[in-house]
Homo-oligomer: 356 residues x 4
């Protein structure tokens, strides 16, 4: 398939359209505005609907409505806008509806700045909203991966009836790379017999709801939800390994940070130093097992988590490593991006300590 | 000081007024409605202002405004309402403003039910909003503790210029217990020379803001924030220990769940079985060190985290224990409350495995 | 064309679809809920979009957006909801955009009641919003007329680039009558070369705006608007006459009230008393001239305005009659509908005075 | 009493505070921003509350709430903001609550411009909201009159339990003139025994409501409302006369336009031409009777209505004159202010026709 050069935000948009997304509801915020711009132009041509809502709160509730009717629907925003959507996201998760939510992270907290960040990791994977629920979260590191995972996100959402987040950042959103739109491997998707598509009287009414008057049914709903989550952990956890065979130190990073870590590893390799990387592609479900596995290897001495935050994914890394090896942190935040040089220095310090 | 019998929600309200709270902005939701009801009645008498806003989003932004003027201000809500406030909370944290936020948790996700729950733990301590920030979170287990911690919350908020959450649940909110309103130990509080109280020209303007155009200052602001958080971890971390000296198993629970665990421990003690409890009083800062300390003791074989959720605080417990001992989970959620009998059975299973 | 039996609200909806309406934005309120219900079901089949907005304010601004793109768009509501739309309506009028707004009046002020009313006449014709502008307002008296005028409304809106209101009431909306959907007489409609449909660079950008920095251009815009209004008054003013030739008294009423007045006239005719009716079909432009004409006839002694209000259209009637004959009022409001018997009694009193 | 030099907007604000206004809810819009600015600064000092709401819709509903508790409350805005408040205004009128609403008109429709205008006359006096109701509307022409009428507005509101509007414009709001704050003549005001101030059980609950399930009570409420309006028309109608004794032509204008007309009259008098003015001070109740009286005088040949609009008050003038004399119009709008020269030319044309 021919490759074309596209900006991350536009590539995500086109991927959504090709995946059959028919509704897009949003509200503008930098650095994701290319997504609504692209959608407003191309959705009508694809027989879909683009609508700029009154606010992020309105937008996520429109997603709720459209998802309830069984349509493929997406919203996108950046950090503060995603915070405004937390109530709606919890409702969609509770009502077990499929949708795709894109967060092109900017730096926070508050209005923060429009520069890239990875400081919404906790919000994405620990549940920014209330109650027991999970988002499925893909963390693409390249524009091509953003395309593939966005397409797959719609399938995963439909398969498990849950909201799927694409967790990107301003670098990924603004960067241009060549991409193709090869569709993901075909999955057997369940029929949407739960959707509220109108009832001609031949069946009982479908009801989309997240309200429970009694504790029993709500507890059962939650158990069902978590049984599904267990199944997902088994089937959908995804990560990448890079130069891990002989590594003394395992770097770990996702998204744009992983690109930088790759350069660090290549650069150190030229100097004869073996450092590897575990790169979570799904940050929920998080690939705890691979950390446990590598933590148990003798040649691995330490782990270094690299994030554009003050340290968030490091908690999941520690939970995976579970005390078997030390886990250290290197981060830049507030719009600062960690440099290859800085990370190399940090790694070299660790190497020296380890070898001492 | 004389004790009076009060409902948790009303006691929290009265404690706020006695602590000098002058503004309350909210929006109704069960099971915390006694708080706005009490405030609407008593705030005007205390020379304060009660206002029901258009929505939770409006309410938290009014808190932002009032906090910026240096006034003591509070909002309260329950789970879905707290989700709606996430953007505002992140702004307040980013702008480094003091305020008190009460979450009387109901069961979720979505509308869920009005029965009690502890499923907003992640939201409270991992940052439900976007960006690098923390809430200070108290988790009272009795109405008296709710009173004392609410009063202290206003001092802590002013001392560190940050939002403080009272993380309660429907049981605590609805339960009646005798309380007194002894003020907390007097702290040396900094002057609010940053507040926007009007400027007669004798100084530069004070500006309340969370927007940064450049990465450098935003990074520095975030480093300052986290330096403050380190200081708080050192000075303000609080927990309770119960019957831990000879315990084989350490239960761990906060809030209403800790009350039930206490009954479990007492009941097992009568049967000659020694089980103890670590009860976090601050869930952020989380008392990781005490877990590390107990995990290192030989007589402690295992940990059991008890929550009204599908398992959230357990991650912090594991991070504290760091692989030194197994950490297990017992939970009920969706409005179900774990019973003494159920927990005892679970503990007895663990005891048998440990002794085997 | 075959006639089918339909409820007024549904007939208006179907008429809109047949007239090429492609977007419907609304928010529920009794007694017009059959309109959004019908639209939600039938719009998608017609290749259109139905969307329930966050509020009436959001809905009218979505109408503004869709109208700006040149699409045929409609909203409907009932009295309180129409009040919420006043800012948006003024914007649409100022930006000279075509759209159709249905008001199925309920009784007010405030929440009032869900029973029928004609108390929004002033709001509809004198400009409920701010600034110098007019709505074009049709006041249908039968379901068939509602159908025909709704279809025509889209043409009129496009022809003059202005919002057109269908001013109905709960009786008209809920009543079933046989209707056909014969399209209106074909008009030569101008091309929508002003619409913001995307610009491939081959022309200047189209801009939809109601903001003017300088007084000159805003004054000119307003003069243009009122030049257009003069043209409309000349070409589009419409009314019905009933039994006016030998009448001593002229009744005047619009919408449902006109149906009752017709019964009054028929009943009095059987008793040998000649009473006629002028029925405005467009309440803006108001048919002032026909009142002037009849007020100048010797056999006409008095006018009686019948409204489901405390007296609103009577001002326009008086402006038309201009002192030439007395104008009296009979009204019921608050959900009360004037009865044939009541009106006959009022007319008989007038007859006796006139003949005395 | 000593006079001080104040801007119209600030003088209105200070008058409100001196009249005992304790709550101000608003949302910013030019050209009335000096009012919220003044209120935010001075309200707290006066033991009152200033709050900037989420929107105009929120602000008017807060006014509704505060008015229901019996407090003196005010909001202010400019044209588009007043349109957004129409639903709330209708609710307040329906619930028979006292409050003061300031409209410092800008030019419309739509966003229009920030320059002065009188194009919201219809909205103010014919009911911009839905249903049968009236606002009491004062139209001050000087800053001193704005002060006096604002103070009186709070009394009138309390006396008749209805919303009172101060209808100003950008000229009045921005102009500086010397004012004193002499309180209005003391009125015997009824006790607010209907207010929802909390109930200790010694009386039935007070209920503030505008919803009626049945037509009967709603009709009766409306009849009561209009009986009150009749009483007001009798007691509160106010106007000014200027040089009317020997006038051939009667100019009529309110607010800023009346100031210009006064210059026209003075200038013509110097040239020996006698022209007078009727200046409505209350535009609702409108002083119809004085127009009827003057229209019946032989020396009066014609009326000329001067407005900063395309012609709105002229309808009320015509209703007063009722065909006895011709009524002509001179207007400028869109931010254009009619000049003395322009109006003189128009008057001279009329004089020539009349004398011909």
């Amino acid at each position: 398939m021919e490759k074309i050069l596209m900006k991350g935000n536009e590539a995500i948009s086109e991927a959504a359209i090709q995946a059959g997304c028919k509704y897009f509801f949003g509200y503008p915020i930098t650095p994701q505005n290319e997504i609504p711009a692209y959608m407003s132009k191309h959705m009508p041509k694809a027989g879909g609907t683009y609508l700029q809502a009154e606010s992020e709160v309105a937008a996520i509730n429109m997603v709720y409505g459209a998802a309830g009717s069984g349509a493929r629907v997406m919203t996108s925003s950046s950090s503060p806008g995603i915070s405004l959507k937390q109530e709606g996201i919890s409702y969609i998760a509770g009502a077990q509806l499929p949708c795709v939510i894109v967060n092109i992270q900017r730096s926070g907290p508050g209005l923060g700045g429009i520069l890239p960040s990875q400081a919404d990791y906790f919000q994405a994977v620990k549940g920014g909203g209330h109650g027991d629920y999970q988002l499925f979260v893909y963390a693409p590191a390249t524009v091509q991966e953003a395309v593939s995972l966005t397409m797959e996100a719609f399938d995963v959402a439909d398969m498990y009836r849950m909201p799927v987040m694409i967790l990107g950042d301003g670098i990924l959103g603004q960067m241009m790379e060549p991409v193709d739109f090869t569709p993901p491997k075909k999955r057997e998707l369940p029929e949407k017999d739960w959707a509220t598509t109108g009832n001609d009287g031949s069946r009982d009414n479908n009801v989309i709801n997240s309200l429970y008057i009694q504790a029993g049914p709500l507890y059962q709903r939650t158990l069902d939800l978590y049984a599904k989550y267990e199944e997902i952990k088994k089937n959908e956890t995804r990560y990448g390994l890079y130069n891990t065979e002989n590594a003394e130190i395992i770097l770990t990073a996702y998204g744009s940070s992983a690109r930088i870590c790759k350069s660090v590893i290549d650069s150190l390799k030229e100097e004869g130093i073996e450092v590897g990387m575990i790169r979570p592609i799904t940050v929920w479900p998080f690939p705890y097992d691979i950390y446990d596995e590598y933590a148990s290897m003798d040649h691995i001495k330490r782990f270094l988590t690299v994030e554009m935050s003050m340290g968030q994914m490091i908690e999941d890394v520690k939970l995976g490593v579970n005390g078997k090896k030390p886990v250290e942190f290197f981060g830049r935040t507030g719009g600062k991006v960690p440099t290859v040089k800085e990370i190399k220095e940090k790694v070299m310090e660790m190497i020296q300590e380890v070898r001492a």
